[in-house]
């Protein structure tokens, strides 16, 4: 596992508030291999976005990485000076945002936005940058890219804009792409196209981290998934297995509260309650107040990620090297 593209170990991120430190990412570990996609699933406020922003070190001013390690191609990022970190962003790690209208600068043409960072990073000259930008716009399926490149973001349709943003993230050919809910703000018809596009980059060897709360999106092209709750990973599994048999009660709840086309025979069962206020983190397992299987032990003992026992695990896990199944719940770890 020494050649992982991205290796995050025990990452912790705090928000510095007047009332003290608030831990929003608490001991997250994850691994992404080249050409593989990892889904980070969880509700809003579960810390999934902050985890990936910690990796890129583009956190809000009040946030600090409190510990842990982030290695990209074996290079430690958490201790890199800001100047060198800037060279990593956009060049080695690309980021796709939820809403392209918001994430593209309305005062710059696509050409400017797609080529500027190439010259910041000293990757190539202006003419070459323009050629690459046009090529990438073509790659993401924008027709007549040499014409479109002169337009402003607001002159494009929603789907085109999303493609343009992916082009912006991919024009420097980063080895890792972080996609933060890339399909949440677009029409369902566009959703599929965007996912196909990302799948294509994945097939070319780009490692992808997909932040999503949509399990369907995760299933469409991710290999592995981690489920986050209250800043911690509560379950880790290959996506198909997670969807086939979620084991952590939270994953189960998340799955049951998802609307699926054609899933009329399955009753919707939203998880009762709301995610906890991290300032008043419930003792023991943070999910216990909302968990229907909670017992007194859950209130007392913190839950660690534990490998699921072999007899309860489906055959799929052994199919791929490096695939792990873990859950942070003593009940499922014991019974599978």
């Amino acid at each position: 596992m020494t050649n992982s593209l991205l290796e995050v170990r025990d990452l912790r991120t705090d928000f510095l508030l007047k009332s003290g430190r608030l831990r929003v990412v608490d001991g997250v570990s994850l691994t992404v291999e080249p050409g593989q996609a990892l889904a980070i699933v969880g509700e809003s406020g579960s810390g999934k976005s902050i985890t990936m922003r910690s990796v890129m070190r583009v956190l809000p001013k009040t946030a600090r990485i409190a510990g842990g390690s982030v290695r990209l191609d074996g290079r430690e990022l958490t201790e890199l000076p800001e100047r060198q970190m800037r060279q990593v962003r956009g060049r080695q790690i690309g980021m796709v945002f939820q809403n392209a209208m918001e994430a593209l600068n309305p005062t710059l043409t696509l050409e400017r936005q797609l080529t500027e960072h190439l010259s910041w990073h000293g990757i190539c000259g202006k003419a070459e940058a323009r050629r690459r930008a046009i090529e990438t716009l073509g790659d993401v399926g924008i027709p007549e890219p040499e014409k479109r490149i002169r337009t402003y973001p607001f002159q494009l349709s929603g789907g085109m804009r999303q493609r343009a943003m992916i082009a912006m993230a991919m024009v420097a050919r980063p080895s890792l792409l972080i996609a933060d809910e890339p399909t949440t703000a677009v029409d369902v018809t566009v959703q599929r196209q965007i996912l196909d596009l990302l799948a294509e980059f994945k097939a070319r060897g780009t490692g992808i981290v997909m932040i999503t709360h949509d399990l369907g999106v995760a299933r469409y092209f991710c290999d592995d998934a981690v489920v986050m709750y209250a800043g911690r990973i509560v379950e880790r599994a290959p996506v198909r297995e997670l969807l086939a048999r979620p084991s952590h009660p939270y994953s189960t709840g998340l799955f049951r509260s998802t609307i699926e086309v054609g899933g009329r025979d399955r009753a919707l069962a939203p998880i009762p309650g709301a995610p906890p206020d991290l300032a008043q983190r419930p003792p023991g397992c943070a999910f216990h107040p909302r968990c229907e299987r909670a017992e007194s032990v859950c209130r007392e003992n913190e839950q660690m990620l534990l490998p699921l026992t072999v007899n309860g695990v489906s055959r799929g896990t052994s199919g791929r090297p490096g695939a792990v199944r873990e859950a942070a719940c003593w009940k499922v770890a014991a019974h599978g």
Binding site: G90, E102, A103, L104, W120
Partner: protein, 299 residues
């Protein structure tokens, strides 16, 4: 978002011709007839002011002893002359030059100061923000005419002193506006996107924040210009304007009041032109404001 979608050109690529961020505002401005005519008028005023030495028939100090207080239509002085026999038309043109020079100079200077201070305060934040805004608040609390009087007394009644006196009272509100804009633009997702592309702080402030923050600044500036023209005349009226014999509409109006019965044109023409100029610049300001309002800043 939904609105933007609906009004978007969905047709051929030709319809989506590269059009600047400002093009829409310009189109709306042009559709506003009053504003557009005012702009043309203001343009003519600016040209007249620049070309004053070539347009004015006489120099503003040139006296004609044979024709003092000459009436309108007098031989060689079609708008008449003042009590010293100086050509009124020429003096009004030079007065326009003074007014516009002071107004544009003061607003340009205050704009530069406001952008530097507002951008630093908003972008850097923390102590820098507190310090800069503290200074700004002190300046804001200071009565601007009092400041102008002190400044003109100390520096003398030069063009530069008047310009500085007006500029100093005007940068304060502008700087606050810039800061407020920067604070709101800073939170936009494209700033984060730029950061995640590896942009440096300087790139972000000048390429990403500033262009998105200046829209409202253009509006306030277009209103600040007529205000500065008025302030220049006001200072001159109080005897704090530029040193005579350099003409200023304010001092001409003040002199004209002494001859209101003998030679009413000495008051009426400068006052009329002053009012017209102020009105035209204000209408341009209105047009600019409306043009940007319709821009859907709420994108």
């Amino acid at each position: 978002m939904a609105l933007a979608e609906a009004t978007e050109p969905t047709g051929s690529i030709e319809a989506v011709k590269a059009r600047g961020h400002w093009a829409g505002a310009w189109a709306r401005f042009r559709a506003n007839r009053l504003a557009f005519i005012s702009l043309i008028f203001c343009g003519l005023l600016v040209i007249t002011a620049i070309a004053a030495p070539w347009i004015a028939p006489y120099h503003f100090t040139e006296t004609d002893p044979t024709a003092r207080l000459a009436p309108i239509g007098a031989d060689g002085h079609w708008l008449g002359t003042d009590m010293l026999g100086r050509d009124l038309f020429s003096r009004m043109i030079y007065g326009l030059r003074t007014a516009l020079f002071v107004a544009f100079g003061a607003e340009l200077a205050s704009l530069v100061v406001a952008i530097v201070i507002g951008l630093s305060a908003g972008y850097i934040g923390g102590r820098v923000d507190q310090g800069l805004m503290g200074i700004t608040d002190v300046m804001y609390a200071f009565p601007s005419y009092l400041f102008a009087i002190v400044l003109v007394t100390v520096m003398g009644r030069s063009l530069w002193a008047v310009m500085l006196a007006i500029g100093i009272s005007s940068w304060v509100t502008q700087a606050r506006l810039v800061r407020a804009q920067v604070l709101s633009v800073k939170e936009r997702e494209y700033i984060e996107a730029a950061r995640s592309m590896g942009a440096s702080g300087t790139t972000i402030s000048f390429r990403y924040i500033l262009p998105n923050a200046v829209g409202p600044l253009l509006v306030t500036t277009s209103f600040a210009i007529p205000a500065a023209i008025g302030a220049e005349a006001g200072l001159a009226l109080l005897g704090l304007g530029v040193q005579p014999p350099t003409p200023s509409w304010g001092s001409m109006i003040s002199e004209g009041t002494s001859y209101i019965l003998a030679a009413p044109h000495l008051l009426l023409f400068p006052a009329g032109m002053f009012a017209l100029t102020l009105l035209a610049f204000t209408w341009v300001g209105d047009g600019v404001r409306d043009a940007f309002d319709a821009n859907g800043e709420s994108r």
